[in-house]
């Protein structure tokens, strides 16, 4: 009578593709000469097929009347239990598909690669928690006289820009708050814009400053997804607006005419109006 082969227990790992290249090659060589392992492999494939086929039928309903506390299951899932507690939980899990499934779900969603929803999504969630009827989340970008790298970095070619408050987007949560952007070319020309909530809706107001001659040539217009305001000349103090902003890309165009290019400011607004 032959001695039982001591490698048959590796059959499942081989059949499930869980061996490294070298282990696999070595096991395949062994299989070619070991009848016992070949037979075990055949049996394993058949049996695992049957088990997986059975798994496609509906999971049995609750099979135990004393299901475990969810936190104990969670503690088992993160391996926080002492040995004796773990053994108790495992005796239950062995016979309770429902509790085991709960553990399996936790294992499935933990770990793995990390994804960031970004601060905007977090802001919206906070707005909902605060029960705010409205929040405007504003991001700025400018083209024309300026260089736009991306929405998170506001870099103006000829002048320097300052966005307040940091970071590159601003959340406006109440009529007391506003998102501001100011731009200056260092030669006396400047543009200030702010977004504030007026009756719960974000509005843009601005002020253009510069030499009287430049100011006289300036026209300002806003195109939002819902309509167009202007072009019009700023008032004597260089002020324009308030113009309503809507969710999406709103474009403010400042034209100085003549030799100077059009200045375009894109204001992206995300509004959250849920109670």
């Amino acid at each position: 009578m032959n001695t039982p082969c001591d490698r048959t227990e590796l059959v499942p790992a081989y059949a499930e593709g869980e061996m490294s290249g070298e282990e696999r090659r070595s096991f395949e060589e062994h299989l070619a000469s070991c009848e016992e392992c070949s037979r075990a492999l055949e049996q394993y494939r058949s049996l695992s097929g049957v088990l997986r086929d059975a798994a496609r039928s509906e999971r049995p309903r609750k099979t135990s009347s004393d299901c475990l506390d969810p936190e104990v299951l969670a503690a088992y899932a993160d391996r926080s239990l002492e040995d004796d507690e773990r053994a108790v939980v495992e005796r239950h899990l062995a016979n309770c598909p429902r509790c085991l499934s709960e553990v399996a779900e936790l294992w499935r969603i933990e770990g793995g690669s990390s994804h960031d929803p970004g601060e905007l999504a977090a802001e919206r969630a906070l707005a909902r928690l605060r029960g705010q009827s409205s929040v405007a989340i504003v991001r700025w970008a400018a083209t024309g006289l300026t260089v736009v790298r991306d929405f998170s970095e506001t870099v103006f070619g000829a002048g320097t820009a300052e966005v307040w408050p940091e970071p590159a987007f601003s959340a406006v949560r109440s009529s007391q708050e506003e998102a501001r952007l100011s731009w200056a070319d260092g030669a006396g020309t400047e543009l200030r814009c702010s977004v504030a909530l007026v009756r719960g809706r974000p509005h843009l107001v601005g002020r253009f400053g510069g030499e009287r001659e430049t100011l006289a040539r300036a026209t300002v217009a806003l195109v939002s997804p819902e309509g167009r305001w202007g072009p019009e000349s700023p008032d004597a103090g260089g002020r324009f607006g308030p113009w309503p902003l809507v969710r999406g890309r709103n474009r403010l165009t400042l034209s100085l005419g003549g030799e100077r290019a059009t200045f375009e400011l894109a204001i992206e607004v995300e509004q959250e109006g849920r109670p």
């Binding site: 499942p12 394993y44 509906e58 104990v72 969670a74 062995a94 016979n95 936790l106 999504a121 977090a122």
Partner: protein
């Protein structure tokens, strides 16, 4: 089972803030856990083939955050420190995801690649085939209960019924893949030898 030492002082302070309804707690919570929450949503999306795009997942994220923090962190407040705080968060996020899947009338059905999970075959299955499978499952459940040790039973259920790989289960048990292979091999040998299951296996 008593609370264990899974609560560091920072988490303890955060939970205290949340329970007191202090909004500073919300911001701390989000800065610490927003990636964990969103990553879990990503994995549920993949696992159940929910077909959510980024905007959908951000909506689920909002729902999850609101569920976690509203009413003075009621959902979180039931945490007693037996498991890690992160695991408790996972549990709540997962429930929010499943609720949403149910609402959108999608059945949360695992979509992990599984060689034996042949959809064409499922659609061709006759009623008799379904009944046979159900009977087989019942016999298997009984055999698993009667002849396997708890660890063997858990491993068999996770691998064949829940779609986990050997490597995943081995790492959960703190075992090598080779040792897991041996454990499953012995478990299947017992199931094969068990009379109640014999017919089903012979016929396959």
């Amino acid at each position: 089972m008593s609370p264990r030492g899974h609560v560091d002082s920072e988490t303890e302070e955060l939970v205290r803030l949340l329970r007191s309804g202090d909004e500073r707690g919300w911001e701390i919570f989000l800065s610490r856990y927003r990636r964990l929450i969103y990553s879990a949503i990503h994995r549920v999306n993949g696992r159940y083939g929910a077909g959510w795009d980024e905007a959908d997942m951000e909506d689920v994220f909002e729902d999850a955050v609101v569920k976690l923090l509203r009413n003075r962190g009621k959902a979180l407040a039931s945490w007693e420190g037996r498991c890690r705080f992160e695991t408790w968060i996972y549990r709540i996020v997962r429930n929010v995801c499943i609720d949403r899947l149910r609402r959108s009338a999608r059945r949360p059905e695992p979509t992990e690649s599984d060689a034996s999970h042949d959809l064409d075959r499922v659609s061709r299955d006759s009623f008799a085939g379904d009944r046979g499978r159900r009977d087989l499952r019942m016999s298997l459940e009984q055999a698993i209960r009667n002849v396997l040790t708890p660890r063997e039973a858990i491993a068999v259920r996770l691998i064949y019924f829940e779609g986990f790989t050997y490597r995943e289960v081995a790492s959960r048990f703190g075992m090598s893949v080779g040792a897991m292979s041996g454990l499953v091999y012995r478990a299947l040998a017992k199931l094969r030898a068990d009379g109640g299951l014999g017919d089903g296996l012979e016929g396959s």
